[in-house]
C-alpha cells in the first residue's frame, strides 16, 4: 500500500498537468450553497450557508467578506429600488420545521455608512408537518410583470412558490396558499427568458464531498406558476427535470444556480461544487457562461488554456498574422509531363502524377508547420492581423494562456493570446485597431477577456485600448480584416469560434 501511495503521490503533479485545465475562480472561494452573485459599488458579493461571505473586485479573485447579521441556510439576494434584500432560511428545531427571513440594506459594503441591515421578518415557513421544508430561498423579479416571486423548499415534500411585494420584499398575500411547483429537489430558483419561466433546482445528495450526487436540473413553463415540464414533458412536480449541469472533470456535484447577467446579452451563472478535487475536495464557488439552445439553458464552460483557430462567425474566415502563408507540406509540385508523355529526345514515358493520381497525396502524414522555420521571413517588429481561410498554417494558430496576477472578470482570469510556439502577442492599438507585438509584456492592451456568449460563440475583448476608455471588442470588419469596435449583441461581427486546429 505504501508503494502505491508513493507512486500516486509522485504521479499526481503529472496527472494534474495532463488534466484539462479549468479555471475555477481564484483566491478564497470556499463556500456552500452560495446566493446569486450580485454587484454593489463595483464589487461582487455572494453569501453562503453558515454565514460564509465572499467578495471580489473583479469576479475572478475572491476573498472572505463580512458575514451577514443573520446566519442560516443557503441565502439568496436581489436588488430593487435602493436596497439589497437577502433571504436566509433556518430550521427551527428538527427539519422540516423552518422559516425564511428577510433582511435588507442599502449597501453590501461594510465600509459604507449606509451599511445597516434591517430585519424584514418571516416571508415563508413550514410547520414540520406539512410536505415542505422552508429553506433554500430563490428570488425572481419578473422582468415582464415586475412582480416578485420566492421559491423555496427541500427534499421534505414540495418546492413552493409565493409572491412578495417588490417594494418591501415582504410577503404580498400572507394568507394565500403557496403553489407547489416541483418535488424531490432543493436550491430552487426561477429565471425568465424569451417568453418562458425556467425553474432550476438541484437534484441528488449534497454535503458528502466527492461522493455527492448534486446536479442542477431545469424545467420550463409559460406561466410562473407552472406546470414546469422538462424536455421529455415530465412535470417537475412528478420529479422531472432536464439536466443542466452535472459533475465534470475534477469538479464534483454542482448545485445552487444563480443568474449573473453581465450586460450586453452576456449571461453567466454562479454555482458551487460539492468537491473541487484540485482543492482537496473543498466546496467552492464557480461562475460559468450561461448558453441557450433550442429554448433551453445550457451550462457553458469558461475558456480553457490551449491552442485555437479564431474563426469569425460573421465571415467564416480566421484571424491570422498578415504575412505570406506557406502551404502545409510545401507547394504542390508538378512531376513532369502527363502520363504517356515522352521526354525530349524520345525514350519511355517518364514523370506524371504520383501513384494513385494527383489527388492521392504523399502517402505519409504531413507534419504541422515548424513555426521557427516559417517565421524566419516574418518582420521583426509589429505585424498587423487579417482574416483568411483557415489552412492550418503557423500564422493562423493562437495559444490562449491565463496570465497570473493580472486580474480577471467573472469566471476567468485575463489571457494573453500569442501565435503558437512564439512570444508574438495580439494587442489592441491606438485608434481602436489590432496589431501583434514581438513579445508579451503584460501591458493591459495585451490582456484579453474572453466571454462565452449565449449561443456558444465567444466575445474577445482587450482589457484596455490605447487612447480610449470605451470598451471595444474584436470585430470582423468585412471578410478579410478585423478591428475593435463597440459590442453589438445582435450582430455576428463580434462573435468568434475557438476551434481546435
Amino acid at each position: 500500500m505504501d508503494i502505491i501511495v508513493s507512486i500516486m503521490k509522485a504521479a499526481l503533479p503529472l496527472l494534474l498537468a495532463l488534466a484539462p485545465k479549468l479555471f475555477a475562480l481564484d483566491g478564497q472561494v470556499n463556500i456552500h450553497d452560495p446566493s446569486t452573485v450580485v454587484l454593489c459599488s463595483g464589487k461582487y458579493y455572494t453569501y453562503g450557508t453558515g454565514g460564509t461571505s465572499l467578495v471580489s473586485d473583479d469576479g475572478w479573485t475572491w476573498r472572505r467578506g463580512t458575514p451577514l447579521p443573520r446566519r442560516g441556510l443557503a441565502p439568496d439576494i436581489y436588488f430593487s429600488g435602493d436596497r439589497y434584500y437577502v433571504y436566509v432560511a433556518a430550521n427551527i428545531g428538527a427539519q422540516p420545521k423552518a422559516a425564511v427571513n428577510m433582511i435588507s440594506s442599502k449597501t453590501l459594503d461594510p465600509a459604507s455608512p449606509d451599511y445597516k441591515w434591517e430585519e424584514g421578518g418571516v416571508v415563508a415557513s413550514s410547520d414540520g408537518i406539512e410536505d415542505a421544508n422552508a429553506i433554500d430561498p430563490g428570488i425572481l423579479l419578473d422582468p415582464t410583470t415586475k412582480r416578485l416571486w420566492l421559491t423555496y423548499g427541500s427534499y421534505f415534500g414540495y418546492i413552493r412558490l409565493v409572491e412578495l411585494d417588490p417594494k418591501t420584499g415582504k410577503r404580498l398575500h400572507p394568507g394565500d396558499k403557496p403553489v407547489n411547483i416541483a418535488i424531490n429537489s432543493e436550491a430552487s430558483i426561477l429565471i425568465y427568458h424569451d417568453g418562458w419561466y425556467y425553474l432550476l433546482v438541484t437534484h441528488g445528495s449534497c454535503c458528502r464531498g466527492a461522493d455527492s450526487g448534486y446536479n442542477i436540473r431545469v424545467g420550463r413553463a409559460r406561466k410562473v406558476t407552472g406546470p414546469f415540464l422538462d424536455n421529455m414533458g415530465v412535470d417537475m412536480i412528478q420529479g422531472g427535470g432536464k439536466l443542466f449541469a452535472g459533475s465534470s472533470g475534477r469538479m464534483i456535484g454542482p448545485g445552487h444556480f444563480g443568474l449573473l447577467d453581465v450586460g450586453d446579452g452576456v449571461q453567466k451563472f454562479s454555482l458551487h461544487y460539492e468537491a473541487d478535487l484540485d482543492r482537496g475536495g473543498a466546496s467552492v464557488l464557480d461562475i460559468r457562461p450561461l448558453l441557450w439552445r433550442d429554448g433551453w439553458p445550457v451550462a457553458g464552460e469558461n475558456v480553457q488554456e490551449g491552442t485555437y483557430e479564431i474563426q469569425s462567425l460573421r465571415t467564416g474566415t480566421s484571424l491570422e498574422l498578415a504575412v505570406e502563408g506557406f502551404p502545409v507540406g510545401g507547394r504542390p509540385v508538378r512531376r513532369g509531363p502527363p502520363p504517356g508523355g515522352r521526354p525530349p529526345g524520345g525514350g519511355p514515358p517518364q514523370g506524371g502524377p504520383p501513384p494513385g493520381g494527383m489527388f492521392a497525396g504523399t502517402g505519409v502524414p504531413i507534419p504541422n508547420q515548424d513555426v521557427a522555420q516559417v517565421s524566419q521571413k516574418w518582420p521583426a517588429g509589429e505585424i498587423e492581423t487579417r482574416l483568411a481561410n483557415y489552412l492550418c498554417q503557423a500564422q493562423q494558430k493562437w495559444t490562449v494562456t491565463p496570465v497570473a496576477g493580472a486580474g480577471g472578470y467573472p469566471g476567468s482570469p485575463y489571457f494573453k493570446i500569442t501565435i503558437t510556439d512564439t512570444g508574438r502577442a495580439l494587442a489592441a492599438s491606438s485608434g481602436g485597431e489590432l496589431t501583434t507585438v514581438p513579445s508579451f509584456t503584460g501591458a493591459p492592451e495585451q490582456l484579453w477577456r474572453i466571454d462565452q456568449l449565449t449561443d456558444g460563440s465567444w466575445r474577445i475583448m482587450p482589457k484596455a485600448v490605447p487612447g480610449t476608455s470605451e470598451p471595444l471588442v474584436l470585430s470582423a470588419v468585412g471578410s478579410s480584416f478585423a478591428t475593435l469596435s463597440k459590442f453589438d449583441p445582435a450582430s455576428d461581427k463580434q462573435r468568434w469560434l475557438l476551434r481546435k486546429p
Binding site: 485608434g431 471578410s479 480584416f481
Partner: protein, 220 residues
C-alpha cells in the same frame, strides 16, 4: 467632356461589335460629368487603364508587381478619358466607364477591347467628392483577384491570393475623407478567368455612405 468620352470606350465598343465580338452589357461610357454612388454606396464610375501583363497572386508577387514602375507617376497621375501611357513599348489607353452593377467587370472591359484578361494588372482611378469631412470611415472593397488600394496617396488596403469579389472583403482601418475631392486608386491583378472589383465607403457604424459622388478628372 462628353465628346471625349464617346471617342474612347464607346467607340471601342462599336469597333468590337463590328469585329463580331460580343459587347459587354455592364459597362458604358459616361454621359455626365458626375455620378452619385449607388443606393448601396458603390462607386460606379471609374477610369480604367488597359491591362498590363503581370503574374502571381501571392503577397510577395503582388507587392513586387505594384512596386514596379510601369509609367511615370503611376501613383499620382489623374488621367482623363482617352489619355495614353506607354508601358514597355506598348501604348495603353485610359477609358472612362460607368458600370450598371455594384461591381466593375474587368473581364468585360478587356474582352470588349480584344485584350488579354488573364495574368494581367489593371489600374483604376476615380475622384470621390465628399460634401464634408468624414472621420472614422472605412474604404471597403472586393476584387477578383488580388488588389492594392490607395486613398489620397496612402495605401489603405491590400488583399492577396486567388479570390473572388465579395462585397466588403477588404476593409481599411478607420480613415478620413476630405471635404471636396479625394483620389481613390487601385491596382487589381488577375490570375485567370473572371476579373472584377467593387468599392464603397462605410461610416463609423459600417453602413454605406450614400452622399458621395464619383467624378472624372477635369480637362486641363
Amino acid at each position: 467632356m462628353t465628346r471625349t468620352l464617346k471617342n474612347t470606350f464607346a467607340a471601342l465598343l462599336i469597333a468590337a461589335a463590328l469585329a463580331g465580338q460580343t459587347a459587354p452589357v455592364t459597362l458604358t461610357a459616361p454621359t455626365t460629368p458626375r455620378k452619385r454612388v449607388s443606393v448601396d454606396g458603390f462607386l460606379q464610375r471609374w477610369l480604367l487603364l488597359e491591362p498590363i501583363p503581370a503574374a502571381g497572386l501571392t503577397d510577395s508577387a503582388v507587392r513586387a508587381a505594384i512596386q514596379k514602375e510601369y509609367f511615370p507617376k503611376q501613383l499620382e497621375v489623374l488621367p482623363r478619358d482617352g489619355d495614353k501611357v506607354t508601358v514597355g513599348d506598348k501604348p495603353l489607353t485610359w477609358h472612362a466607364v460607368d458600370t450598371a452593377n455594384y461591381n466593375v467587370n474587368l473581364y468585360h472591359f478587356a474582352h470588349a477591347l480584344g485584350l488579354k484578361t488573364s495574368d494581367v494588372l489593371f489600374w483604376a482611378v476615380i475622384l470621390v467628392e465628399s460634401p464634408r469631412e468624414m472621420q472614422n470611415v472605412r474604404l471597403a472593397i472586393g476584387s477578383n483577384a488580388a488588389s492594392v488600394w490607395w486613398l489620397n496617396g496612402q495605401e489603405t488596403i491590400s488583399i492577396y491570393g486567388d479570390r473572388q469579389t465579395v462585397i466588403d472583403d477588404g476593409v481599411s482601418k478607420r480613415l478620413t475623407l476630405r471635404k471636396g475631392t479625394n483620389v481613390l486608386r487601385a491596382a487589381i491583378i488577375n490570375g485567370g478567368g473572371a476579373t472584377d472589383f467593387c468599392a464603397r465607403f462605410l461610416d463609423e457604424n459600417d453602413r454605406p455612405i450614400r452622399d458621395l459622388t464619383a467624378m472624372l478628372p477635369a480637362a486641363p
